[in-house]
């Protein structure tokens, strides 16, 4: 899959099972109790950060994934 294909499929244009079901992969996520993968993220002002920079600042960090829709 090319990166353009990935962008288009991940950011699907309609809520139909063929387009959203391939992304429902909760069981494929990292296991509990082992170091988790780190990723670059951005603040709303565009400033770059990393998930690890945020979890390091807290005893525990809650991360809610979601969107406006």
């Amino acid at each position: 899959m090319t990166h353009d294909d990935l962008l288009s499929r991940y950011n699907y244009d309609e809520f139909v099972p063929a387009k959203f079901e391939p992304w429902m992969r909760f069981e494929a996520g990292p296991p509990l109790g082992q170091p988790a993968p780190d990723f670059p993220l951005r603040h709303l002002n565009g400033e770059e950060t990393r998930l690890s920079e945020i979890w390091l600042r807290h005893r525990y960090l809650i991360v809610e994934f979601g969107s406006f829709t």
Partner: protein
């Protein structure tokens, strides 16, 4: 979730909202095609829906979201070491509060001298299903989002 974040902040618990992709794209919030648009939608989360927690934005290809299982509204809790200690395929305030109270108590027990070792547990939690509020949310996205959800789930 903002209230829960406030409730545990004094215990050193942080809370963020991580912006992913549009689960129910509609005329008002269509599929994401640029980071500029993604930032705009993420800002509306604060300005229109009133989310007060820090909002972080994932890459346009959802690299972080995909690595964690890409569910539309899942929640994870990380320890300071970067080890996940809780994951839920949906976000529920009571479930998260319950987990945090347990983890904070573990810290207390360790401080008091108990020797504790982790083990894995699976549990089925329960969330409120408010169809009226859900459809109200879909309507904000546009009529297309309502139509497509009805077609998929009735």
């Amino acid at each position: 979730m903002d209230a829960t974040a406030g409730q545990f902040a004094s215990e050193g618990v942080g809370s963020i909202f991580l912006y992913t992709h549009e689960a129910h794209p509609g005329e008002n919030y269509p599929r994401l095609t640029s980071m500029e648009q993604k930032f705009r939608h993420a800002r509306d989360l604060r300005e229109v829906l009133g989310v007060m927690r820090p909002i972080l934005v994932d890459a346009l290809d959802g690299a972080c979201h995909r690595a964690y299982g890409s569910m539309p509204n899942m929640s994870w809790i990380f320890a300071q070491s970067g080890v996940p200690v809780y994951k839920a395929d949906w976000t529920d305030t009571r479930s998260i509060q319950n987990a945090l109270e347990y983890f904070l108590d573990v810290s207390e027990r360790r401080r008091s001298g108990e020797r504790l070792t982790p083990f894995r547990v699976e549990r089925l939690d329960f969330r409120i299903q408010d169809q009226t509020a859900f459809y109200k949310g879909l309507e904000r996205n546009g009529a297309k989002a309502v139509r497509e959800f009805r077609a998929a789930f009735g």
